[in-house]
Amino acid sequence: MTSVEPSEIRLSPGLLTIAAGLVAWQALSLFFPPVIFPGPWTLLQRMAAIYSDPASYAVVAQTLRRIFEGFAIAMVAGTAFGLLMGLKRDVELFFDTWIMVLLTVPAVCWAFLSVLWFGISDIAPILTIVLIVFPFVVINIWEGTKAMDKDLMEMGSVYRADRSLMFRKVIIPQLMPYIFSSLRIALSLSWKIALVAEAFGAGDGIGQKLINWFQDTRVDMMLAWGVSFMIVMVLVDVLAFRLWARRMFDWRPQLAT
């Protein structure tokens, strides 16, 4: 084989796949009506139409608000509860069955129950998000407490550090990687569940748009809303977490991933 020029190396197989995929997609879409199988170009056009309409931003804002509210509640409650379960064996033994049950109920069930209880409102999506995400966070944090260094706890005890000091300087710093990964997972789950919950019981929001267009058999509009939202959430994940991670862990020599 001849030697490879530096400029050629940038065309990695990954990029090639994506490029090839886009081309194949566009080609394939020519065989179908755009409302059934839109090509990338059609999709872009639909997205432009959506976001040139100011009303759309209100829709997105609704969904984002519910996501962040549900996410925040689930994170705070989940972290606190996970800590409690990790530090107190009796609490752990008592509640682990409840957590298991919570993990097993699908989002759509909570969505139905919330609507039956609270009607079409904000509560259904937020409650659903909390009930699904909370157990995940609990388990994550609880795993973190199990991984804590008992020697350090002992050291703290010997010096008679009180609970508050132990939490601030010994427990929470050890849990930071777990809190961090919980945040990522929780956010990622939250926005997906928001869509399911809104589809059934919010009256507005992006999830509502998705199911409406689904019922109208308009794949193009459905994808336009769905894909654009996905892009937003991925950006949030990258910006918020990759950048933050770098700052958080600079006391570790060269270990930051």
């Binding site: 990695s12 197989p13 990954g14 990029l15 090639l16 796949t17 994506i18 995929g21 059934i36 199988f37 009796d90 033994l93 008592f94 509640f95 682990d96 069955t97 409840w98 298991m100 049950v101 097993t104 109920v105 699908p106 989002a107 759509v108 069930c109 139905f112 129950l113 609507v115 039956l116 209880w117 990622s188 926005w191 997906k192 869509l195 399911v196 589809a199 999830g207 998705l210 199911i211 689904f214 058999t217 794949v219 459905m222 994808l223 769905g226 996905m230 959430m233 991925v234």
Partner: protein
Amino acid sequence: MMTGSIRAAGLRAGSVVVLLLLWWIAAKLVHDPEVLPDPAAIAVTIAGNFQSPGPTGHSAIFHISLTLGRIFAAFAASMLLGIAIGLVMGRSRLVERALLAVIPLMLTIPTILMVFLAVMWFGFSEAGGLVAVMAVVTPYVAVNIFEGAKAMDGSLIEMGVAFKAQNWLLIRKVYLPQLMPYIFSAFRYAFGMTWKIVALAETFGLKFGIGYMFFFWFEQFNMVQVMAWIVMFVVLMLVLEHGLFARLESRAFAWRGAIAH
């Protein structure tokens, strides 16, 4: 510690009892079966669902079997395809780099969107449900197995080759045991995902099954039935996940000795 495990079992049993108790008390306080039916009413309803044909002319057994059938079929298909893809990714750098660009994308697409697309493109049928599950679960399994393939201990494989082990023997005794932890963790997660997607797909458009019944009763605003079917579903899944898998796992990992938890 004998007392320790008795205590543990006691606390856990106690928590179930307390849950039922709290539920019963709450139901009495609310006093409205449309809002919060009490556990007894739900138990009765569940029993009734099994005994008589429901509104669709089929008893609960039919719906449950249907859902289970869909779950296992989709799960098996996704696992097999996922393992195959993962192994190929492990052996071919080209495939690895090509797919690693696409898979994260697929993993980000919300489930509900996948279900909608699958159902719209492949019909409100078994095919639609199957595709929906596979589109979500296969990439996850593939990535997991791929990690396992990468992590395989090359020295053990060399040892096998040095002893002139035949390919099939190599696969059975050297590859597979090392892959098993990855297969298993993919297994559990894949199963969890599968039944949630099947439930969702049934809610939207598949004919009959547990999800279908969720939606049916939801549209009728029949709280008791909605709860009854949720309870049936949750109990069934708990039994499968913790009964079945826990047992399989301990058999599969016997060789790890005391390390496995």
